[in-house]
């Protein structure tokens, strides 16, 4: 195992995998709606972290091209900027989905008086 260079990129791949697994576990097994929604927020956070770690360059620089830089050196050393642009939108999508789900959960609480999924969503009369 030690021959693989254990650097930041590999560690953050494992972290994003851990986020997704914990999020999936919570979304499936927890009975409280708000906790299910927190689990879902963790799944989206894990996916975003995965995208950002794709572009990481060990020992590289932040992909901002300062005037004095040589373009070839910049291209070789800077982190890949495309995933950063993608994650910007996907973080916002995660937040908006979470907001809509919480709003629905509030309405369902007002109607059913409980937060437990089995009572609300379980058996439709």
């Amino acid at each position: 195992m030690m021959d693989i260079l254990f650097d930041t990129q590999l560690a953050s791949f494992f972290t994003s995998a851990a986020f997704i697994i914990i999020g999936l576990f919570a979304a499936i097994f927890l009975d409280n709606i708000i906790k299910k929604i927190i689990g879902i927020a963790f799944i989206e956070e894990g996916a975003n972290l995965f995208l950002v770690t794709l572009g990481y360059k060990p020992g590289g620089i932040v992909p901002i091209f300062l005037p004095g830089m040589n373009s070839e050196w910049f291209a070789a050393n800077s982190a890949y900027a495309l995933p950063h642009a993608l994650v910007l939108t996907s973080v916002v999508i995660g937040a908006s989905t979470l907001a809509v789900m919480l709003a629905i959960a509030m309405v369902l609480y007002k109607k059913h008086g409980t937060l437990s999924t089995s009572k609300i969503l379980g058996d439709e009369k």
Binding site: L24, A27, I28, T117, L121, D123, E124
Partner: protein, 111 residues
């Protein structure tokens, strides 16, 4: 609680159960049609395995035919498995995801 009350309660139980899914002849005929389609289409779909190898197809068809005919009233089971409860849906979603990823990953390493 007297014997009489117990009998009345049991009638109430039965009536409540019958009212829930009262089987009119229309629902029975459609359930029969659904059952026939399910068994016949699954068996015909199983024939498509002949592209891999013939013996596997024969085994699968016999096994599937036996399986389907033994627990014959399939439709109540199918209906219960696919009602609207979230746990069942999430269970089948994660099951499909698991099967999909393992088969594809295993397929790559061995094929």
């Amino acid at each position: 609680m007297g014997l009489y009350d117990m009998i009345v309660n049991s009638f109430k139980e039965v009536r409540k159960k019958v009212v829930k899914d009262s089987a009119t002849n229309e629902s029975v005929s459609s359930a029969l049609a659904a059952e026939l389609t399910l068994i016949s289409t699954l068996l015909i779909a199983a024939i498509m395995l002949r592209h891999f190898n013939i013996t596997l197809t024969v085994v699968v068809i016999l096994g599937l035919g036996l399986l389907l005919t033994t627990n014959m009233p399939l439709i109540p089971k199918i209906k219960r498995e696919q009602d609207d409860s979230l746990e069942k849906m999430v269970f089948y979603a994660i099951l499909t995801l698991g099967i999909l990823i393992t088969v594809i990953y295993w397929g790559q390493t061995n094929v």
